[in-house]
Amino acid sequence: MYHPSRATAGALAGASMIALLAAGCSAGGGEAPAAAQDAVTQEQIDEALSTPTELTFWTWVPDIDKEIALFEEQYPEIDVTVENVGQGLEHYQKVRTALQSGEGAPDVVQIEYQYLSSFTLTDSLLDLAPYGAADLSGEYVDWAWNQVADGESVWAIPQDTGAMGNLYRKDILDAAGVTEPPATYEEYAEAAKKVKDETGSYISNLASNDPAQVVGLLWQAGVKPFGYDGDKTVTIDVNSPEAKEVLAYWQQLIQDDLVSTDADFNDAYYQGIVSDKYAGWLTAAWAPIFLQGTAADTSGKWAAAPLPQWEEGEQVSGNWGGSSDAVLSSTENPIAAYELAKWINNDPSSTTMFANEQFLFPAAKNVLESPEFTGQEVEFFGGQKVNELFAEISGTVDTEFPWLPFTEYAYSSFNEIVGTAIGEKGDLGAALDAWQEDLVTYAESQGFTVQQ
């Protein structure tokens, strides 16, 4: 029989070993990319795009062949091969293995924002600024652009985002006498109590296995737990007073049994959504579509609102998920590869298709500001214009949120330490301290200078 979860875990462990082994064997891997070069001229671009070229693109976006077809129609000389080598960590391990074995690496590759710096650390990404990417900064929401750009350099083109909002079951909240979505976290806690007392449902779930959700909530609160100078210095500050304040709030709700702590994205979780166990989900812009796929039976009972706020009258959000397309520095066709990464995430025909067919929540303003996109009334949410709401929320995401160059480790360590404490309804402040210590030890063992 076939066991995906166990197999995947084993595979990840194994794949990372390969990456290490391959690193040891292949004597340095690819050559370091040429440093800051002169800007590429329009002539060179035109020439590259009219020369027969084969590109490989690794991405897990479903049915992306449609956007690629548009690109190939525009530039018939460019032949793009799309491969899905896995999703998330599995995908990154494959990219690293290919880079280090010096063979078979793609030209363009999908990378989530929080993992970009783990690739710039190894000089694996091509700086896109000389190819014209620097001029694109105004075409994406500010915070998303800050995720891919770093000073003068641009490492990727934003593809999709996950600004966070509050999706809730209007019917359950109404039954509990909560007729307006809670505007502040104080109101949210009061509403949680009413919902639990009146209906028995949890107002939401804080997943014990999902660092990205907690980090998104910290992002909203203005916490800057991570930092990286692009060279050898990292900032680790996951147990700051502000971070502890956020988690202390959730700890209270968890210990009062007003918020559940189930692992998310598994069938028990989906059952919980369908069976009214949860009356809401503090989640991201991609979730409305996701819910429609898994909880079709609850159609029409949902509503969407911005996240509750820490200060009354404020309007701030965080981000959970989303990804970008980067060009690997090992590519032999940098201009064509850049044009591919840019075109599919910039040309309105492609960005509109991403938003309407794959339901990626856009980073490009040409979709976010298009009335056709924001005007859609979603039946699942009782006819609410959910896109419009999330487009507005996306504009309120805190614009600065740097990452560590080892997010993979930070996340798995989070699950072991903080995630476990969430699941056990334990002391989350102490868990943050332990996480901090673990991250600092790891960073120092990897040769980083740590600022705390």
């Binding site: 029989m1 076939y2 197999a7 491969e83 989530e112 999709d160 069938d267 369908v274 898994t294």
Partner: protein
């Protein structure tokens, strides 16, 4: 000569099983305990299959809202099958063909190699035979998964990664098959027949092909099935060796589909598609077992009885 062999063959090949125990006392020794335990075990093994069968008839909504071991509100098997075969222009069919190719070629190759090696160990004495056989026994203890990484690095230096060879070549080696065939050949091919064949002037290779192989039938089928199942279900090796979805076997392909269903941006709710795909992927193995199980049992019994 040939008539002599065919007459002797069935009795010898069948002897480990038929002569094992007198049958008369069996009916009286029926134990209630044992029956209950066996039924429980059967349930334990059949329930997941049953769940898979039921779940493949549900759509996503029913999957999460109805009882797992019975049908949901809608019978969506047809739609699920359609979505399995239309996903990414029917790449599922490609995965089935790949899996059948990898597993088929590997199983045929592995059983031939193991038979030849086992026969040689059993019937010939040559310098170093004990040492080589000990090494083979030792190799049984090393799981394929542990060898996957060194194999990857080796194949990479030959430029064989991301090709079908990367899956087939490592799967041709079956130390357990060699062991099984040695035990089986020692008993199933009597020395006297080999002697007789030699007297009749047959060369060693001819004796192996024309006499040995016929007598070793049940053992070969056993090794074939082992190798078929092992390669069919192999996940780790293709996962690290292959990068092109057009080369994936079912295991890796379905896992990637499952991955696409379980994460953030651009997630698709493909659960029922993945489940139905998994259901289809076990069907050929079930069929192979139903057809070949009597050989399988014979082979297992032989391996268990002899020393």
């Amino acid at each position: 000569m040939m008539t002599g062999t065919t007459v002797t063959a069935p009795t010898v090949a069948g002897s480990p099983v038929t002569s094992a125990k007198p049958r008369g006392s069996r009916a009286k020794r029926r134990s209630t305990m044992l029956t209950v335990v066996l039924w429980l075990l059967a349930l334990y093994f059949v329930l997941p299959l049953f769940w898979l069968l039921i779940a493949s008839t549900k759509d996503n909504a029913d999957l999460f809202s109805s009882f797992g071991l019975w049908f949901g509100d809608r019978f969506a098997l047809g739609e699920n099958l359609a979505s399995v075969f239309s996903f990414r222009d029917g790449i599922f069919v490609r995965w089935v063909v790949n899996t059948a190719l990898y597993a088929g070629v590997s199983a045929v190759g592995a059983s031939l190699l193991a038979t030849a090696a086992g026969y040689a160990f059993a019937k010939y004495q040559f310098p170093g035979d004990k040492l080589l056989f000990s090494i083979t026994l030792g190799a049984i203890m090393i799981p394929l998964t542990a060898l996957a990484l060194p194999t990857y690095l080796m194949f990479n230096s030959f430029g064989l990664t991301n090709t079908a060879w990367a899956i087939i070549l490592p799967s041709l080696i079956s130390p357990f098959g060699v062991y099984l065939m040695r035990v089986y050949a020692a008993d199933a091919v009597p020395d006297s027949i080999i002697e007789a064949a030699r007297v009749d002037g047959a060369g060693e290779l001819r004796i192996f092909w024309q006499v040995g192989l016929r007598l070793l039938g049940p053992g070969i089928v056993t090794v074939f099935l082992f190798a078929l199942v092992a390669t069919w279900n192999n996940y780790f090796l293709p996962l690290i060796m292959l990068n092109s979805s057009s080369l994936y076997p079912l295991t890796v392909g379905l896992a990637q589909q499952q991955g696409a269903a379980a994460a953030g941006g651009g997630a698709q709710a493909l659960f029922s598609t993945v489940i139905t795909g998994s259901m289809i992927s076990v069907v050929p193995l079930v069929i192979a077992f139903l057809f070949l199980q009597r050989y399988w049992q014979t082979g297992l019994a032989t391996g268990g009885v002899k020393e």
